[in-house]
């Protein structure tokens, strides 16, 4: 029974990883870009949401906001930050061909953004973990002895909806066709009339939305936010993405759930200290034995970086 409870918990935990992993895999799949700001965007949504719910709008414009509204603004902040990242990682880049580290430029810029955003949050809000005033914690229901918290079920539903919606967007819509064309060959897509300057920001908006959503759900479900909360989630989401296969959305879903399960089972059988080794060992093994992951494609992420 305890094992089943752990399994349910791992699915709930995995759903947060899934959302962030989908954001990672989307940027890699379309732009071949490992976006290191993703954990920071996740944290930004949570921390801005907390600050608004605790202090209210800046400059004393309002009192503390109700938490759903605060989280909504937190998500907006994540999306805006993500668009800012787009400007400086893709749009204003001066690329000179012939130098192989040039392909690493967006990645290095995103590392810069990671440092800037995270430390600005530290300066503004302090480094301590804060309690998030979400819905009251006793919204728990019991199904045959298994305890499930209602906000977690709701967030699981939201995650499923978002992923299905994203798949639809990529498969059926005009924007999605443009995105897939860019993923295939950016230059050819450009020649055939895909406006890169309009389509690429969509990837970053979706990234911001997914991270913001994950941050908001995390704040509600676990009731705690901190400037460091992105690091752990981000690294596990990367592990999930790699296990599932780079560039594959359903791979990220599967991988995120596998990582959640691995984490919970490791805690159950070996204790909390070995989680890091288990998750990263899983990642390293996948990279060495089956680099394309479970559902991934051979060609993605192979280009020079």
């Amino acid at each position: 029974m305890l094992l089943i409870q752990q399994f349910v918990n791992s699915v709930m935990l995995g759903s947060v990883y899934v959302t962030v992993a989908v954001a990672f895999t989307l940027t890699i799949g379309v732009l071949n870009f490992l976006n290191f700001t993703i954990p920071t965007l996740f944290m930004l949504a949570g921390m801005v949401g907390w600050a608004l719910a605790y202090w209210g709008l800046p400059f004393g414009l309002s009192g503390p906001l109700p938490w759903p509204l605060a989280l909504f603004f937190g998500m907006c902040a994540a999306i805006l930050a993500s668009l800012l990242v787009e400007r400086f990682t893709f749009r204003y880049l001066k690329t000179k061909y012939g130098d192989s580290t040039e392909h690493a430029i967006p990645l290095v810029s995103s590392l810069g953004f990671l440092l800037v955003l995270e430390n600005l949050v530290r300066i503004g809000y302090g480094t301590d973990a804060q309690r998030f005033p979400g819905p009251s914690a006793d919204l728990t229901m019991s199904i045959g002895g298994i305890f499930v918290r209602i906000p977690q079920v709701v967030s699981l539903g939201i995650v499923v909806l978002i992923v299905v919606g994203l798949t639809w967007l990529l498969k059926r819509s005009r924007i999605g066709r443009g995105l897939r064309a860019i993923a295939e060959n950016p230059d050819a897509a450009n020649i055939l009339g895909v406006d890169t300057n309009r389509v690429v920001p969509v990837v970053f908006m979706l990234t911001g939305l997914l991270c913001g959503l994950a941050g908001a759900l995390f704040a509600v479900n676990y009731g705690e936010v901190s400037p460091q909360m992105g690091e752990d989630i981000g690294t596990k989401a990367i592990a999930g993405m790699v296990v599932g296969g780079l560039g594959s959305i359903w791979g990220a879903v599967l991988g995120g759930l596998i990582v959640g399960l691995t984490e919970m089972m490791t805690i159950h059988f070996f204790g909390a200290d070995t989680v890091q080794v288990a998750v990263w060992g899983l990642l390293l093994l996948t990279l060495l034995l089956r680099p394309q992951g479970l559902l991934g494609h051979h060609s993605i992420g192979k280009g020079k970086l």
Partner: protein
Amino acid sequence: MSGYWAGILSILAINVIFAYGIFLPVATGQLNLGGAGFQALGAYTAAYLSAMFGLPVPVTVGVGMVVAGVVGFLIAFPILRTRGVYLVLATFAFAEVVAGTILNSETLGGAMGMSVPAFIDWEIPVIVAGFVTLFVFYLMSTRFGLTMRATHDDEVVTDLMGVNIRMVQVCAFAIGGALAGLAGGLYAHSFSFVEIQSFNALVSIYVLLYVLLGGTQTAWGPLAGAAFFTLLPELLRTVLPQVKSFLAALVGIEEPVGPPDDSWRFVILGALTIAMMVLRPEGLITRTMIERLRFRRSSSAREQVA
């Protein structure tokens, strides 16, 4: 020399060695985001040998360096099979596995850390850093250095020219790992204490940024990058409060200003990174710049200016 400056010089020397350790793989076109892992290997080996067997410092640091180098050599084969994003992730994962293993190891003190009995003063790291700098400059001037640069610029062509690029990359990775381990060993003895929290993922990121911002084309780059970003926070510590009190006095507020939040240095590092990537992605110090300084009046330099 005051303890304050001695501490800064030790850190500077260690960062320079560490930056060279990451520079070597990056100079062959391999982004190594696992620097902290190699540094931790060197530091913990030195700490363990010093604490358990009381071995002298040169032996502990030397063994730490060899251990990190051998591990670098062994994992280079599977890790360098991967490319692009996968390589970055694999090196990152390697550092996390090292950190996780040490965290769970009873003999290495786990999360409590380990104290190191033998202490070294600032002179030794500085002298070692000097030798490492000379070594890397020498290495870059040899035929091996030439093949490293060629591999960095174009792997396919270099391969066609008959260079064993696999060998070059593995060697650069392993030597880099050894240098990072050396930096770790010196760190352990300079601060008399190691704990795994000081070898986290952010450390790997910082050192990679030092190298990339300094420039990967010449051996001057890591030196400039590491020196700049080690000394900058010290400068900020004195300058920022003055600016702040000046601005406050301008608006008419008279209050004492404390030292700035330590986080500002990372904000500045990040902002400089972004600005550099937009304006000068090849790094601060480039080959052209060195040549221009060296042959100020030669025709080749003038051509490159034009």
